[in-house]
Symmetry: C2
Amino acid sequence: MNIGEAATESGLPAKTLRYYEDIGLVTPRRSDNGYRHYAEEDIHKLRFLQRARSLGFAIADCRTLLSLYEDTSRASSDVKSIATSHLDQVEIKIQELESLRKTLKHLISSCKGDHRPDCPILDDLSRSAKS
Amino acid sequence: MNIGEAATESGLPAKTLRYYEDIGLVTPRRSDNGYRHYAEEDIHKLRFLQRARSLGFAIADCRTLLSLYEDTSRASSDVKSIATSHLDQVEIKIQELESLRKTLKHLISSCKGDHRPDCPILDDLSRSAKS
DNA sequence: ATTCAACCTTCCAGTGACAGGAGGGTCAAG
DNA sequence: CTTGACCCTCCTGTCACTGGAAGGTTGAAT
């Protein structure tokens, strides 16, 4: 299977497949003409990566997850700890963004948004950093 | 005021101040010895930027906000629309992350996390992308 | 006078995870 | 034999910095 079909099958852009080869994640064989040849196992890995990436795992995590996946004697606790750590990061990010949302909402609701120059948003940006 | 003190005053690293000069955000005068000399107005701008960046505004937005701030005949609606658009992005990101959190929590809770290899997390990564 | 630390300077490389594009080779159909 | 759809490598750009090398300046202590 050439890169184009592999891209379609995995749901990843061809550029990304080349990148994954560059960093040693999925290294397909080459045909005589130099084209990448993706075997079923490669497609499987690519789908695994597509799913893991869509869950927000970093490439480094994906690499570990993939090797754990291929290691049939792994401990599920190893996988769980990576996922838990990732979940922690996601929850921290959610907290930060919700705090941000609150501040932005407050600022926006206090701004009339008309043609006049008075703007509590700019006032905040200008003043609050001083204190 | 040299770059070090300006960094302390603004709450930004000196490296960032040099970067902001590179991209034309805040361009201090130079002393005879070639050192950057930050005037009070520059410090004010840097604080403005520090605050805007901490609210998650992109540099491009910060540039616009800064010019609006300096334009005393601006319309507050211009500022409000930037902030509203940013809030929209923040809320979209929160939605995405919450959906992610739900999926991760579900996967994690279904994984025993022991020494055995059975792992619903890996099963999901391996299978769900196929469908 | 010298030395030393603490500043400051410029410039180059790296981050993460790709995306865009130039310039060129390969293949199958008409 | 040409056309168009593929494929290849290599280089640059993204975003907002961060780290580091190599070297100049300053002010104070020795």
